[in-house]
């Protein structure tokens, strides 16, 4: 080919990729036309147009990228020939304003990330869900008229070969018919006495679970909104559907609106283990936090188990810019995290022992009297007197005969049946009378001035406390006369904590527990104490995802409270995970709980709200659809009790099946008990693999309706722009999918109420009616007009959420304005007097070992005996202590004390019996938001060291693959080389799933096979697998055998795994903790200012413990291509375990003098 024709080809618009060069032999190397000086002048530059043409786009549109990563970026899509070719940040965040013109700055720009910019690889990817898809076996069950076993009601197994059947595409009409009839069939089957008998005959569900159904079959229908804060109509539609089910119940059971019951709705924030469970225990509300841009307000920033460099990427500049201005950053972590490289100090702690470290810091601050006395006395429970005889906090009624609680000015007391104003008009806290009378009965301090006990109320906090003219003792032991004539020893809680810590958590003892040198603990404590009102403690999931996440909150709050670092713009505590605070849009019940029997059909009027659906923790489903028992004793509180699960409808999330904790136990053992799983998705996830019906919905670039999204880490409210971009496939908006089924329910039952309930979604007005109603009823949105903020969003500009400050943060009301916290005492409470906490031995702030992720005896309370610690022992439940230790189920409620000094002499039982050597933790990484984008080719190419776009090694499941990080010294001991494949096996009694040894084909899917990486960042005995990759399904495993190229891709569905076998969820199980399931904890409701008790969705409920797993690691295959020899980079000496001399010289910087 000549020069001329090549140039013509380029002009003709062909890509460079299509050019073929002539063979070398026919060419001379010298150019035909000489260039005099190519750094000065070049003659033929017309070709440059080639790149200008590539860059030019015909049009652009704005869309919202909203995976569950808390950011929500408005992005610009650049379009050529109707196809998105490139995605860019809008650079318009600096133009965001609120209703009154308050403005953000351009320091917010740019907002985007590696995952969002590659989204066109997904918009047009081969794993798009192309319409309504149905599993063939399920389709047959429907066509056969839902046959069931006459006794148990169970459908025949032949229809339920999930993960193995094919999927076929049906029409939207047919699929709505299938779903509607399935709902009717299941709800009917399990309603009433007949239903109860069937469930009993199935032999799995304990009586309390069946009782919890209250005879309504609709209560077995479970609905899960996916991170509702991300799209307040689209993603909360399942809850509205759950409310719709009350109409169905009224048909099936013939009951009226007074008795009808809707479906059950599953949790998000708590299910994802994002809820920091101790926050509500200490502060009475969901979570304390601040927008991450506020890092720069503080002189000291401690990131404790938080790794924002990979999880909060667009906000990291606020941290590095804080450093530019002199802020000191301390990273505390169980490994050297990516964020550690921008820290001034790094402290590496033994996994799961952070509570002990925090308690020891608190001890030093208390002991050395470095605390902020004024704050401690007026905002915490530390001056409150506790009874040493029964461990209860002393109440006025204990010492004052016929005590009547005082009137509260800062709260409204609700008499039974009394209603309260809508959330957006609530100025005070609302407390039910019974709670005020019993739980919140006034407290007592010891006044030093009068040397006598004094009664205080929950109003007496902050400045108001000092108006009482008393000075409460923090130390000392006192005696009071109780109304029953006894003399009781009492102590201020401060004194109790101090004495207790002195016995158990001195820096020397904490060094034994945590591995952190005692001198460093002292130094750190003093440093924190020297930053009153100027330190931020940012907690991440690295400290939360263990069994005792609540204890670490109680300890860390204490450190912050002692130093007056809560509720200030410059000093605060915050826990970061998930995007949870739907309460910021607390008008949401307008949509997700509109009264189905009293629907508002005037688009301009607000809806009437009535909850017919009942929230439930999905952790029971992931615990084999079962509550927690210790022997015969039910530990799950009655406010938490689950019902049997027979039908599930998920929207746009992979977390509750495909990437659920103990995923293979769910798949192999729990799913067979469930009769229908519907999943809405736009990308074929692992959840789709095991669903019965998959409804293809619009991808983000195809959005047709405005919706609103918010964030807990930034101050914006985002409107989902209507992109105007065409739908690639036969997809619908999520709300439409539910509306279609409701419409079909009307056709099947003749009841117009189903259809009317979804009227505005059916009419395509879901945004202007439902979203606007939510805005009007939300404390922090009211005043916005959807059309106006949408217009800005279309230009790439978000709006500001109208909390009390910009940026937003929690705690100002209390710390600066003297409002009580939402606790019994109105103060931050570190002591928990409730019986469940007493039974667990956790009434005092204690440290417990992880329940599985430890080399020592798991789950023990690390403390010496103490008068106030009276835990229920295994024997109290009729179980031998040793049996309770060995059984992972019972171990969770095994409350045994071990002293800090004795702890290292104990052993995890699997070390002895199984040869387990490594705890396995599964944090989140930068290349994927949970699993979203975890299989985008160009994104995961960069995920770790094994990415190879050409897959030279055909064993690779994809162009990259999962790996386990293990310290090089450990690998040497285990006879494993960097890059080898290894088996990772955790406790064989229940992992990967119960009964694996009898099911070899399923075991092959669930057992974890993964590459090992020698990791200097990981301490010995600790191993890490990033959380974000899609796991193996039956289909992907089949693919590794049947696909000629070896891809772990399901040949039938296209599902792509990044593991050959198993997943990171292989090593953990569904963990439950008794103190997360109390009926007695006082806390604010999820939304509004009303205070309640016991279970509350995403506030007080189980959170699981996905980083609890202790495993054995054994070599499976060599790392070289095709399993021959060692991995090439290792062979060439470019890896830590076999660095060549050049590389050693390089690292030591010896190439220069």
């Amino acid at each position: 080919m000549s020069e001329v024709t090549r140039r013509e080809l380029l002009k003709g618009g062909l890509s460079l990729a299509t050019l073929i060069s002539p063979s070398f032999a026919f060419k001379v190397m010298e150019p035909v036309v000489k260039v005099e000086n190519p750094i000065l002048y070049y003659p033929n530059r017309d070709w440059e147009r080639f790149y200008r043409d590539i860059f030019r786009s015909e049009s652009t549109f704005t869309f919202l990228c909203a995976p569950n990563d808390t950011h929500n970026c408005l992005l610009t899509a650049c379009v050529k020939n109707g196809v998105v070719t490139r995605i860019e940040p809008t650079y318009k965040f600096g133009e965001a304003t609120d209703i009154y013109g308050l403005k953000a700055s351009h320091r917010w720009d740019p907002r985007c990330c590696n995952k969002g910019l590659a989204l066109m690889r997904r918009f047009y990817g081969d794993r798009r869900v192309k319409g309504p898809m149905i599993r063939t076996g399920f389709y047959q069950w429907y066509k056969d008229g839902f046959p069931r076993d006459p006794k148990t009601g169970k459908p025949p197994e032949k229809y339920f070969q999930r993960g193995k059947d094919k999927f076929i595409k049906v029409t939207w009409d047919e699929v709505s018919d299938i779903i509607a009839k399935t709902m009717i069939n299941i709800a009917t089957t399990y309603s009433g006495e007949e239903g109860r008998k069937r469930l009993e005959a199935q032999g799995h569900y304990p009586k309390p679970m069946i009782d919890a159904m209250e005879s309504a079959g609709t209560r077995t229908l479970k609905f899960r909104g996916s991170m509702p804060f991300l799209a307040v109509v689209r993603y909360t539609s399942p809850y509205r559907m759950a409310n719709t089910m009350a109409i169905l119940d009224s048909h099936i059971r013939g009951v009226g609106p007074d008795k009808a019951l809707g479906g059950r709705g599953w949790d998000n924030y708590a299910f994802h283990t994002d809820l920091a469970p101790g926050h509500p225990m200490v502060s009475g509300q969901q979570n304390t936090d601040y927008d991450l841009c506020m890092w720069e307000y503080s002189k000291l920033n401690i990131l404790w188990g938080m790794n924002p460099f990979t999880t909060k990427m667009p906000d990291c500049h606020w941290l590095t810019e804080a450093r530019i201005k002199g802020s000191k950053v301390i990273v505390i972590s169980n490994d050297y995290s990516p964020t550690a490289r921008s820290a001034d100090e790094v402290i590496i702690v033994r996994t799961g022992t952070d509570t002990a470290l925090a308690l020891s810091i608190a001890y030093v601050i208390m002991k050395e009297k470095l605390y902020q006395e004024k704050y401690v006395k007026s905002f915490t429970d530390m001056p409150l007197l506790v009874r040493m005889d029964n461990g209860k906090v002393l109440r006025a009624r204990d010492i004052v005969p016929n005590y009547q609680p005082k009137e509260l000015k800062k709260a409204v007391i609700l008499k039974p049946g009394e209603s309260f104003p809508p959330f957006f008009k609530q100025e005070k806290q609302y407390i039910p009378e019974a709670i005020r009378r019993e739980d919140m009965n006034d407290f007592v301090v010891w006044d030093k001035r009068s040397d006598s006990p004094k009664v205080i109320t929950r109003d007496d906090v902050g400045e108001d406390f000092w108006k009482l003219g008393i000075d409460p003792a923090l130390e000392g032991t006192y005696r009071v006369k109780t109304v029953d004539g006894k003399e009781v020893e009492v102590k201020p809680l401060f004194q109790v904590y101090l004495e207790f810590f002195e016995k158990n958590y001195t820096p020397k003892q904490a060094e034994i527990i945590t591995g952190v040198p005692s001198k460093k603990i002292e130094k750190l404590a003093r440093e924190i104490a020297s930053h009153p009102r100027n330190m931020k403690l940012s907690q991440g999931m690295g400290v939360n995802q263990y069994q005792h996440g609540d204890l670490k909150d109680r300890a860390m709050y204490m450190v912050c409270a002692l130093t007056d670092n809560i509720g200030h713009a410059t000093g605060n505590i915050g826990s970061y995970a998930g995007n949870f605070r739907l309460a910021l849009f607390n008008g949401a019940p307008q949509y997700l709980a509109e009264d189905p029997f009293n629907v508002e059909l005037d688009p301009n009027k607000p809806a009437k709200v009535k909850f017919y659906w009942k929230p439930e923790s999905a952790h029971y489903y992931s615990h084999d659809d079962h509550p927690q028992y210790m022997g015969e004793h039910l530990l799950t509180g009655k406010t938490h009790l689950p019902t049997p699960t027979k039908f599930i409808w998920f929207v746009d999330a992979n977390s509750t099946l495909g990437n659920a904790k103990w995923q293979y136990n769910i798949i192999m053992n729990t799913l067979p008990k469930i009769e229908c799983i519907v999943t809405n998705e736009w990308w074929w996830s692992m959840t789709c693999e095991y669903s019965d019906i998959v409804l293809g919905v619009d991808a983000w670039n195809e959005n047709k309706y405005w919706d609103i999204a918010g964030s807990v880490t930034n101050p914006f409210v985002y409107v989902w722009p209507k992109t105007g971009h065409r739908r690639m496939y036969d997809t619908k908006n999520d709300a439409e999918t539910f509306a279609l089924v409701a419409n079909r329910l009307t056709e099947l039952t003749g009841d117009e109420r189903f259809r009317n309930y979804w009227k505005f979604a059916i009419e395509g007005k879901q945004d202007v009616v439902y979203v606007q109603r939510i805005i009007n009823a939300s404390s922090n949105l009211r005043g916005y007009k959807l059309e106006e903020i949408a217009k800005k969003a279309h230009k790439g500009i978000p709006s500001l959420i109208m909390t009390r400050t910009y940026p937003k943060y929690v705690g100002k009301d209390q710390t600066e304005e003297g409002m009580p916290w939402y606790t019994k005492s109105g103060r931050l409470e570190f002591y928990r007097e409730e019986q469940e906490f007493m039974n667990a031995g956790e009434n005092l702030p204690v440290y417990r070992e992880p329940v599985d992720s430890t080399h020592y005896e798991p789950n023990v309370i690390v403390a010496k005996p103490h008068k106030l610690l009276k835990p229920k022992k295994p024997e109290d439940y009729g179980i031998k202590s040793e049996d309770a230790l060995l059984s992972t189920e019972w171990r969770q409620a095994r409350n045994v004390l071990v002293s800090p000094e004795h702890l290292p002499k104990t052993k995890h039982p699997l070390r002895v019996s199984f040869g387990a050597s490594h705890i396995v933790h599964t944090p989140k990484y930068r290349h994927s938001a949970h699993t979203t984008t975890g299989d985008t080719d160009i994104t995961v190419l960069l995920f770790g060291p094994f990415g190879d776009i050409y897959r030279h090694d055909k064993r690779m499941p994809f162009v990259s693959e999962a790996y386990i990080d293990i310290n090089p010294k450990d690998l040497e001991k285990l006879g494993i080389k960097d890059g080898d494949y290894v088996w990772v096996d955790a406790d064989p009694q229940d992992r990967p799933f119960v009964g694996w040894n009898k099911r070899p084909e399923d075991y092959e899917v669930g057992r974890l096979l993964i590459r090992a990486r020698a990791s200097n960042n990981t301490p010995t005995g600790c191993a890490k697998i990033w959380f974000n990759m899609y796991g193996s399904s039956h289909g992907s495993v089949m693919g590794t055998k049947k696909n000629p190229n070896g891809l772990a891709k399901n040949p039938q569905t296209g599902y792509q795994s990044l593991y050959r076998r198993g997943s990171h969820q292989t090593v953990t199980r569904g963990w439950l903790k008794p103190t997360y399931q109390t009926d007695t904890l006082i806390r604010k409701n999820l939304m509004g200012q009303v205070i309640g008790k016991g279970f509350e969705l995403d506030v007080h409920s189980p959170i699981g413990a996905p980083r609890e797993g202790f495993a054995k690691v054994t070599k499976a295959e060599d790392g070289g291509i095709g399993g021959k020899g060692v991995w090439r980079p290792l062979r060439l000496g470019f890896r830590p375990m076999a660095a060549n001399e050049m590389l050693k010289k390089y690292i030591r910087a010896e190439y220069i003098k």
Partner: protein
């Protein structure tokens, strides 16, 4: 061979063409203390320029972790070996060759993020790092073409298919003239020219010239959410304008340093070295200026370099090319070529308050709603 003055080395090097500087020289400053290795730049570049066949492995912009990350494998270890540390430059070629270089094996390119996040030495439980620089360390090194003043690729190309644009100094490979001999790949000490084995030609970072021509910063800069990058035009030291942000950082404050300046080719990406890394390693990588740069950065953290502090807040705040900047008491301002204000940003995002009760809109605002 002609004598070319290299201001980075403060001496002359031998260049095969007469040494002339372009009218303007493209330059990027990257603050390595702020890089989070998110790879947004890499993906922005990849999706914009190299999504085609034969380019699958190709990352004109890449981010690698030092010390264990390389793209291609071992590139700078090999470079230091070749240059005997800093004793030679790339023009010290053996007889019969134009440039002292080496050509990576195809397999050296296949794991583009090998070494991701890995530290030099193992940590253990109880490891405490409390004094900067840390004995255990790693950092991220984002890399694009350096658009060198005396490009080795230009010098090495037997077809004269590589040139430097006079208007902005961007170095380009003419795809029509390139025959795929890969001499540039062997020559570039930074390994930033790559072979498209479908088109059978070499390709490289084009400095996003279609953007630069529109006064816009490149894709990798405008998508940098770590806000570590600033693109502009650099002047030689004797013509430095202190109000030009690049000149200010490179010539006035001397906090931004070239990568392996001993190559002799005057690379034009300038790095603010990471303060957590031992100085010796930084000197090996960024030359003798490393110590001064780190000291200046630390002084800034103590409040002693107000202008530098201000300027670093400008990074990433505008997609347009800033030609000059000014510092106010609470803000920093960027100006375009004509001196028109483009953007101003505060050093601290101001805290602002709203009333609890908004009577007009009949609503109570809540921080704990």
């Amino acid at each position: 061979m002609a004598k070319a003055f290299n201001w980075q080395l403060k001496r002359e090097v031998e260049y095969p063409y007469e040494a002339k500087r372009p009218k303007r020289q493209f330059a990027v400053v990257m603050d390595l203390n702020k890089c989070i290795a998110c790879q947004t730049c890499t993906i922005a570049c990849k999706t914009t320029w190299t999504p085609g066949r034969g380019q699958e492995y190709m990352l004109w912009n890449n981010v690698e972790t030092k010390p264990w990350g390389f793209y291609p494998l071992g590139w700078d270890v090999r470079l230091l070996e070749l240059l005997d540390g800093n004793k030679k430059n790339v023009f010290d070629a053996p007889e019969g060759e134009r440039i002292l270089g080496w050509k990576p094996d195809d397999m050296d390119w296949i794991h583009p993020n090998i070494g991701e996040d890995e530290v030099n030495d193992p940590v253990d439980i109880g490891t405490v790092l409390e004094i900067l620089p840390h004995p255990i360390w790693m950092f991220y090194l984002p890399r694009i073409c350096n658009h060198c003043t005396y490009p080795a690729c230009v010098a090495a190309c037997p077809r004269q298919a590589i040139y430097k644009r006079e208007e902005d100094g961007i170095v380009l490979i003419d795809p029509e003239r390139c025959e795929g001999y890969q001499e540039c790949i062997k020559a570039c000490p930074y390994k930033k020219t790559m072979f498209n084995f479908v088109a059978r030609i070499s390709q490289k970072c084009i400095g996003c010239f279609p953007r630069v021509e529109e006064s816009l910063q490149p894709q990798c800069v405008i998508t940098c959410i770590g806000k570590i990058r600033l693109m502009g035009f650099i002047n030689p030291p004797e013509k430095a304008r202190p109000e030009n942000p690049i000149d200010f950082l490179v010539h006035v404050k001397k906090v931004a340093l070239p990568l392996y300046p001993q190559t002799g080719i005057e690379p034009n990406v300038y790095y603010i070295p990471p303060i957590n890394v031992p100085t010796k390693f930084l000197r090996q990588m960024f030359g003798d200026g490393a110590e001064h740069a780190v000291k200046t950065y630390m002084a800034m953290r103590e409040g002693k370099e107000p202008e530098l502090k201000a300027l670093l807040h400008l990074f990433g705040s505008t997609p347009r090319i800033p030609h000059s900047f000014a510092v106010g008491p609470t803000e920093v301002i960027a100006f375009d070529e004509k001196g028109k204000e483009m953007v101003r940003v505060p050093f601290v995002e101001p805290l602002q308050f709203r009333p609890h009760k908004d009577e007009r809109l009949e609503v109570v605002r809540q921080d704990i709603p």
